[in-house]
């Protein structure tokens, strides 16, 4: 009897009940019909306990950090920086759009924020440069799906929590697939540039830019610290700081002064390299790069903190908020105190709806476990084929279709607990499967007829959704190809988490 809750759920979901209510209604109604009204309390408790979680707190914080970063100033800096690097290529602004999305993805985990922020600056600029508006809107929408794949990522936090995976592992696993989507799109733009004769653009938009003294010094210090840090990490291979074994068999680490001296030397080397580089480039290029340093430090702080193992993702997200506030209030001065209330309210409202969904998903999951649904479904799936590769192919198609109609977050919440265990049982690594699901459903944000990102791109550009849907097809083809690549070559997603020890081989 309880097995019916899945069909009931699907029907009420399809006819338009909000996902939150549907997740509670279907199991609740069947429990009542079965006379197990006492288990309703269990549903309620799981809803509450599902939201009462420390790891989940990363979600509101990353949303907030993204919102703060989004308030002017930062978007334009990223775009100008990307343009200084790729603007002179054929199809320049299209490349710039993609590169900006990759950089933006490291600051915010949201494809919608990406589309509205980059779209409102880049779509008019591309039109002025001679692109059609539909092409500009399509490439903005297509590249924005990189946002939730490269960390930080809202949907990966949700997946990790609902499925009991490590957020850090999923974050690290998403880096290469996200860049791969970007590179794939750039290749497509390159091909189209030849065929449709897409224009080049100037590398520098605004000449003779000025920079405030504080920002100058912030970039100055950050650049040297980062480069010095990289060089310092490399000295680890040289053996200067390695442990020594004494005669009696005990080992001692390097003396404190060796560490500090190495670090100091590294910083000096970094400084000399940067000073040498400064002579090579012209003033305008230097200014554009300098202005991008403070925003681009955010992903380094987040990932660096998690990688070194200093912060949990939740703490890293709170630090990202603090850093975003510091940058926008003091360095860029793009935010005023009165902007803070609306930004907090927007993030609070977004978080609240997602948190309720996650809580409801946790109660839904208990009933999924109580019913025989996973077993029945597993039997059905295994009856189709016993070859995991064939099944992964089929699951990709299923996820793609689901992605057409449902947003990524709710889809992951609903399908993760049902599909995840089946594939993990078959030997697919949980983190690999998480990436397959996340990337696939994220691309679903840009697929017609129901693509959240398409709607946003339409409202930003003023172009009709149908027109953008047609123009986006070549880019979607690239993204589908990348999805299959990720699915059948696990090393793409698994290498970084394995090397850093966040996933046991």
């Amino acid at each position: 009897m309880l097995i019916w809750f899945l069909p009931v759920f699907l029907v009420i979901l399809m006819i338009g009940m909000p996902v939150f209510f549907a997740l509670l209604f279907a199991p609740g109604a069947l429990l009542i019909l079965e006379g197990q009204t006492r288990d309703l309390t269990l549903l309620y408790r799981n809803l509450y306990n599902g939201m009462d979680s420390f790891p989940l707190m990363a979600l509101p914080f990353f949303m907030l950090a993204g919102e703060i970063m989004n308030r002017g100033g930062i978007t334009i800096r990223l775009v100008e920086f990307s343009q200084a690097i790729m603007g002179h290529l054929r199809g320049g602004l299209a490349h710039v759009n993609i590169l900006s999305s990759i950089l933006f993805a490291g600051l915010s985990g949201s494809a919608v924020a990406d589309t509205s922020a980059l779209g409102s600056t880049l779509i008019p600029a591309m039109e002025k440069n001679g692109y059609t508006r539909k092409f500009a809107a399509a490439i903005t929408a297509a590249s924005s799906v990189i946002g939730p794949i490269i960390p930080p990522s809202g949907i990966m936090i949700i997946y990790a929590y609902v499925m009991g995976e490590s957020v850090a592992a999923l974050f690290l696993a998403g880096i290469v697939p996200g860049i791969l989507v970007g590179v794939g799109l750039m290749v497509m733009v390159r091909i189209m540039a030849d065929r449709y004769d897409l224009p080049k653009a100037e590398r520098i938009v605004h000449h003779d830019q000025r920079i405030s003294t504080l920002e100058y010094w912030v970039s100055f210090v950050l650049l040297r610290l980062n480069l010095g840090g990289i060089i310092y990490a490399l000295t680890g291979f040289s053996g200067i700081r390695s442990e020594r074994v004494l005669d009696d068999g005990t080992t001692i680490g390097p003396a404190a002064w060796t560490i500090w001296l190495t670090l100091a030397v590294c910083l000096v080397v970094a400084h000399l390299i940067l000073m040498a580089y400064r002579k090579q480039v012209d003033h305008d290029f230097r200014m554009v790069c300098k202005k991008a340093v403070a925003p681009l430090q955010t992903p380094i702080i987040i990932l660096g903190g998690i990688l070194i193992g200093v912060f949990t993702p939740t703490e890293a997200s709170a630090i990202a908020v603090a850093y975003a506030l510091f940058v926008s209030f003091f360095v860029l001065r793009s935010m005023k105190l009165r902007d803070l209330g609306p930004v907090l309210a927007r993030s609070a409202m977004g978080s609240a709806t997602v948190l309720l969904l996650v809580g409801a998903a946790v109660s839904f999951k208990t009933v999924v476990a109580l019913s025989m649904a996973p077993q029945v479904l597993a039997d059905f799936i295994l009856s189709l084929s016993e070859n995991p590769l064939v099944l992964l192919f089929l699951i990709n198609i299923l996820l793609f279709i689901v992605g057409m109609f449902l947003d990524a977050g709710p889809a992951i919440i609903i399908l993760g607990p049902i599909l995840g265990p089946i594939f993990v049982e078959m030997g697919v690594h949980p983190v690999h499967f998480a990436i397959i699901m996340s990337v696939n459903l994220t691309v679903g944000l840009a697929t017609p007829p129901m693509g959240l990102v398409l709607f946003v791109a339409s409202s930003v550009s003023g172009e009709r959704v149908e027109t953008i849907s047609k123009a986006i097809l070549p880019f979607l083809a690239v993204e589908v190809a990348v999805i299959f690549l990720i699915t059948f070559v696990p090393a793409i997603s698994m290498t970084i988490p394995r090397l850093t020890g966040f996933v046991t081989p």
């Binding site: 009420i12 979901l13 006819i15 338009g16 009940m17 909000p18 996902v19 939150f20 209510f21 209604f25 609740g28 309703l40 309390t41 309620y44 408790r45 809803l47 509450y48 939201m51 009462d52 979680s53 420390f54 989940l56 707190m57 979600l59 509101p60 914080f61 907030l64 919102e67 985990g109 949201s110 919608v112 924020a113 939730p148 809202g154 200093v310 703490e315 709170a318 630090i319 908020v321 603090a322 209330g341 907090l344 309210a345 927007r346 993030s347 609070a348 409202m349 977004g350 978080s351 609240a352 709806t353 997602v354 948190l355 309720l356 109609f405 449902l406 947003d407 944000l445 007829p449 129901m450």
Partner: protein
């Protein structure tokens, strides 16, 4: 249908007021969450002495944030749904479908608020929280240990506000179906961040 417009206006004023209050409190809760977690990081890594309470305090705030501001998101259409069928159907049929779904949602909320009440007033709510205290004298000599029911009340309040919103939406839907939708006082539009 004119008879319904009176209650709708009253409900709108009540909801406007309560939800604005909820929004303001949720904003404060989010700000406190950030401060508390940053304090935790500071004390643990800089001062090397971890505080016992930030984790629980931040979760306390997050639960209240959800309960207080989610109803506003619901009222402004922020709850994700697949509304393709409703759009595709003729206006009247689609309206009846929407009304049915609202009533079913009310059913979920009604069951939820009953369980919520018995949970908060029941056995589990009487336990104390692990680490949350409030001073109850001006000299900070006496401390009151916050019971878990204070934390659990967040979802109950959330359900109560959701019911208010749901009833308002039902009444509005009835007027849209059988009366003149132009008479309805307009609702604010959604302005929210998303996880996607």
């Amino acid at each position: 249908m004119g008879a319904l417009l009176g209650p709708i206006r009253v409900l709108k004023v009540v909801n406007d007021y309560l939800l604005q209050l909820g929004r303001a409190l949720a904003v404060v809760a989010l700000a406190i969450m950030v401060i508390v977690i940053l304090a935790q990081v500071f004390f643990r890594y800089v001062l090397n002495s971890a505080l016992p309470w930030p984790d629980e305090a931040a979760r306390f705030m997050m639960l209240w944030l959800t309960g207080l501001i989610a109803p506003m998101a619901y009222r402004r259409g922020g709850f994700v749904a697949i509304d393709m069928l409703e759009q595709a159907l003729p206006r009247r049929t689609g309206g009846i479908l929407a009304l049915t779904l609202l009533v079913l949602s009310l059913f979920v909320l009604a069951v939820g608020i009953q369980i919520g009440w018995s949970e908060v007033t029941g056995f589990g709510g009487r336990f104390a929280t692990a680490s949350l205290y409030l001073p109850i004298s001006i000299t900070f000599d006496e401390w009151f240990r916050i019971p878990r029911s204070w934390m659990m009340a967040s979802l109950l309040v959330g359900f109560a506000l959701l019911i208010l919103v749901n009833v308002e939406l039902i009444l509005r839907q009835v007027v849209t179906l059988f009366g003149n939708p132009d008479d309805l006082p307009p609702l604010a539009e959604l302005d929210s961040a998303g996880a996607e």
